[in-house]
Amino acid sequence: MPEIRVTPLGAGQDVGRSCILVSIAGKNVMLDCGMHMGFSDDRRFPDFSYITRSGRLTDFLDCVIISHFHLDHCGALPYFSEMVGYDGPIYMTQPTQAICPILLEDYRKIAVDKKGEANFFTSQMIKDCMKKVVAVHLHQTVQVDDELEIKAYYAGHVLGAAMFQIKVGSESVVYTGDYNMTPDRHLGAAWIDKCRPNLLITESTYATTIRDSKRCRERDFLKKVHETVERGGKVLIPVFALGRAQELCILLETFWERMDLKAPIYFSTGLTEKANHYYKLFIPWTNQKIRKTFVQRNMFEFKHVKAFDRAFADSPGPMVVFATPGMLHAGQSLQIFRKWAGNEKNMVIMPGYCVQGTVGHKILSGQRKLEMEGRQVLEVKMQVEYMSFSAHADAKGIMQLVGQAEPENVLLVHGEAKKMEFLKQKIEQEFRVSCYMPANGETVTLPTSPSIPVGISLGLLKRELAQGLLPDSKKPRLLHGTLIMKDSNFRLVSSEQALKELGLAEHQLRFTCRVHLHDTRKEQETAVRVYSHLKSVLKDHCVQHLPDGSVTVESILIQAAAHSEDPGTKVLLVSWTYQDEELGSYLTSLLKKGLPQAS
């Protein structure tokens, strides 16, 4: 029995370190290869030893697919390909391919900077890893090999985020990665066609939440920044090099323009140009509004946002600074935070979640006296704000996607067990499909019934249509034809076409039977008697007496002959085709009863 097997190595009933193994019709695919920001030892990466156990990695895995550039989906990739030793293809969309190395480099620098970690992947490894990437376009079917094909769909979440359909023969799995079903300021909504996969693997971050509009959060953000700047304070926004930073830059840029604000906005990473370059390059991936306005003005060409210099942090007066890293755990953002923390006029806005072990986590949990190096205590007087800008589908969005794709089964990942449990029940009730939520390391096995597609010839279809019966997908119909199997393809054609294609001559199969009649008359006379008898009995059928003396009823042929040994007996030879088998049998039994006596 063919089956689909799914084993999450990460993202099974948790968030972070997404890595899901899917086995479909003998093909093995790894979906995402993420890391966990909360650990700084081996636990930050998925435990790949469970794959290497199956033999050589590159032989076992047919491909790796990366859904988007967030580190919890791609952060372990250079480790996996350059240190663990995977040497096969890696698929991702073009924007992901372009942006992924920037974030990986950012992550590497922080890891090395913060800890001086020596045994970490290097810049060269990131580059070598990226050279194994094959970029895919949306809606383009890519043949990984002769049997395995993948197709990307727009996922919204971040620039270049995609959902992937993985197909082997007639079996298919859709993996959503992270997605957003409502358009936001610079991205559109996720979309997938009614592909009816055997399994839909969907994220479930907001499995139980109905989120308010992101616009409210954006308004709130602008209000807070504006108020702080107005009262002469400085605003620090710790970000990762790419992604949310650009999103917020657009917000501020437009707001600054509208309100004619003069306070400078700085971007500290030195990556602005490249990041913005990519956002410009991938305009087709953004939402309709940005695409439209692109003709007049490129949203990513910022007039107000300028490159930061370290000396600016000490300048008097209001300003807004975007600085890396995003969790205030090292480098530039932490340095600026230390300088500005003591002034209550200033504000720090954390636009994303912070893991334990970072200053970001501390201030978000309300700690205001922070121990710094050398037993120094930093008193945080500046305002601390948390604003979630993450773009995940909420419960409504997830249900909407399930409805769109019409899967046979659903599997939840990237969420918390309790929330998943709730959503699972909802999906099972509403869609009447099985829903699974394996923990990391647990394997879900789904038996699949192999469906064999058969093509129908145009001729045969036309013949059916000629009978006045239009095809209707809801009413299955019986169709007669000849099934031809050729080159692993199945086709149903008319028997004439089959004969023609195969170069065969038509043969006719006839059943014959002998019936003995006691009749002393000549054969011709016996035939005439048979004709008269049948004519009288079979009123609805065409009974003929042919010049050669034989009698026909439809395709049935009856000939009378003399018995070789008994002159008083005549032999009736009855033959018929298989189409008239019923009539043939009836006639035979009729004749066996004898002919009526001549009057």
Partner: protein, 876 residues
Amino acid sequence: MDPECSRLLPALCAVLADPGQPVADDTCLEKLLDWFTAVTEAGSSLLLLQENPCLVELLFHVLKSQDLSSRILSFSLRLAGIFAAQENCFQYLQQGELLPMLFGEVGPLGGAAWTAPAVRSGWIQGLRTLAQHPSALRFLAACGAVDTIFSLQGDPSLFVASAAGQLLVHILDLAMRGPAEGHRSPQACDWPACAQKIVGHIEDSLCSTAVPQVTQALSVLTTAFGHCHGLWTQGLWVRLSPLVARLLEKDPVPASHSLVDLLLSVARSAPSSYRGLWETLAQTLSHLSPTQAGPLALGILKLQDCPQALRTQAFGILLQPLACVLEAAAQAPGPPGLLEGAAGNSMTVDTLLSSKSACVGLLCCALAHLGLLQPLPQRPSPWPQAPLLGAAVTILRLCSGSAAPTSDVGSRLCAILVGCGRVQRAALDFLGALSQGTGPQELVTQVFSVLLEYLVSPESSSMSWMPVGHFQRLLPRKNEVRCSLSPCIPSPSYTPGRGRGQAGQLTPGPAAPLFPLQVLKKAFQATLRWLLSSPKTPGCCDLDPHTQLFLRELLPVLQKRLCSPCWEVRDSGLEFLTQMTRHWGGQAGFRQALLASEVPELTKQLLRDPESYVRASAVTATGQLSSWGLCATPAGHECPGAQQESLLVELLHILSTDSEGFPRRAVMQVFTEWLRDGHADVAEDAEQFVAGALQAASRDLDWEVRAQGLELALVFLEQLLGQRGSHCPYAVALPETAPPGVLAQALQVLCRVQLFEFAFRALFDCDRPVAQKSCDLLLFLRAKAAPCGSPQEAGDSPNVASVEATLQRWQAGEQGQPLGYLEPGAVVALLRSVDLEGLRDTLAESSDHVEKSPQSLLQDMLAAVGVLGENEADCY
């Protein structure tokens, strides 16, 4: 335990025990366990529990509570295991009957919580940590844990199942170690009951008809033989090897992969101690299919001491697929094949021809295994270098469609392999590995020819733009191949990689990608390995004529690759050029060929490539070319100084203006190398060069550029003042101060190039590696400057006081104000006044060590209660 932590612990335990206060960050519990492990490893667990009764209270509370999360339950099981690992603490916990309640039938084991894999995993991990002493062993037996572990071997969670297997081995080892270890008979009959039970279970599993059970037993044994080294393992082998051998009688052999792992694990531990092992290995080799036997064969050949007959058999298995390919592709009976008399092994041929995936799988494994074997000292001898080279070349030609096999098998192989990227990559890797050996010239020529074929055109694109050279003439002509393959290839427009289905049944399917970039990259790597290992002509330092000839054909190909629209290709081309130049920059033949080509000019043009990776590689390549005087000149002459200067200016321009870090880092690396190697044009005015480079680096936002700037500064210092001291801990540490005259002069120079401004600024850099590097540099300088002047004279000058004040502001994070010009005397005084050792110690710690401390962890967990709630899953 830190008193502050001790103070926070009761509150934390209360939070953990409260179901209404979920722990927001799941990493916290892991980190908490790490901390408790460290604390108990450093001291008495019993004392810890006595001093912090809240911990035991927490464990009791967890048992009573009905609605605790599975995470907390799992955490508690693991925590109890950590405490109970010490025997006296174990007894202490036993007094309260806590352990049976946690790990016995009455605990979570029998409850609804057991359905959560995290709880089962916590239960196993808890027991694994706890099982360290005889009391633990008795406890395990008494609470029936072993039976539960047996059942957990088949757990739906991979993690739980795997941990269960490992725990069984751990218990077995613990039971067998004990006080009687030295006297323990290898005879299994008088083993402890617990061990008997486990071994009995393994026996039953090995006899089972269910493959998963056999697999479980085999993996337990693999771990046992891999990790346990007591005498008892011999007894275990004696008892179980007949059952293992019996598996070979089944067709197909069940759990073959696990069986191979087990046999190799036994063979690696102490093979001579295990009776009948070699026979079992030989038997297994002959029973397994060629694909299954490959890893076993490789494992056997890697063993240090192993009977020759077995090695021969194993080597035969690895060679078999290549022998088949060679035989199938041979146009006429040629020289002796790889395996005399065994080339036509029907099983291997059947596998190769059965399906595309089987063929590709078998060939890739064989190539990878042989490639791994090649560099090992224990590789088989004689090593059939020539036939292996022939096989690699043949496979590559079959894949590219340029081979012309006439046999039926050959044609079918060709149809399967043509355009197959996976085999191409494996074969190129293997060919690269074979570069370490020698081969007959004719074959080496073929190697170069096939490499050139791959470098020219992995996509089979047009070759018409290039004149046909010597090596390309060696290639079979394409149309000949097409004719001979006409039964397999449906049309002349057939594209490699489009084949699908069974051998010889190619149909035009949807486009399968060739994956050419990876193939091209491998081709570059293999070519480089061959070039770098090619022999030098005896008595002459130049290249041998064949290599010379090859180079002449290779460079136009490289030229083409440097113009590729794919950045990956341009980059691989540049990396290749850099390596080649580094190795051969001084050889006349190479220089001549390179200068006659347009490669140097193209490389220079790539300094302005749109892709930053490529710009960085171009910087490195140009730097390397320039070091050998090989930079671009239109007339083909080696570059004069003016050109060189312009390169320096161009690199400085990149350093100051490039928006990306990679090219800027590459420039600093090139500059450091130039300075270190005494590059002629740098040496002309080293001071100005260093000043310019440091000035540009100091402004850089990328800390790696600044760190590289310090590297350059250090090289400069060493050139002025002599090398840094040996880092050998056993070397006699003599004072290595510089003579006063040299020092004074050097300090003048360093002040002029503003090295101190750069180094002191870096000392207070917000990026730790920069500060660390600077600290090391200043410490080195201080050691060298020891005899220069007395601290008082310089320290009293007003200049020093103001500089010290500026430095303090810098340390506080205000780096706006410049340091200004420093006198050498002031520098020496500053070096003495700054607490460099103290800074070095601080910098040696991770920059987030305060946030990562246990105290900080406890504070965070307490502070997060009820605050993070909704942010919890809002990860990215």
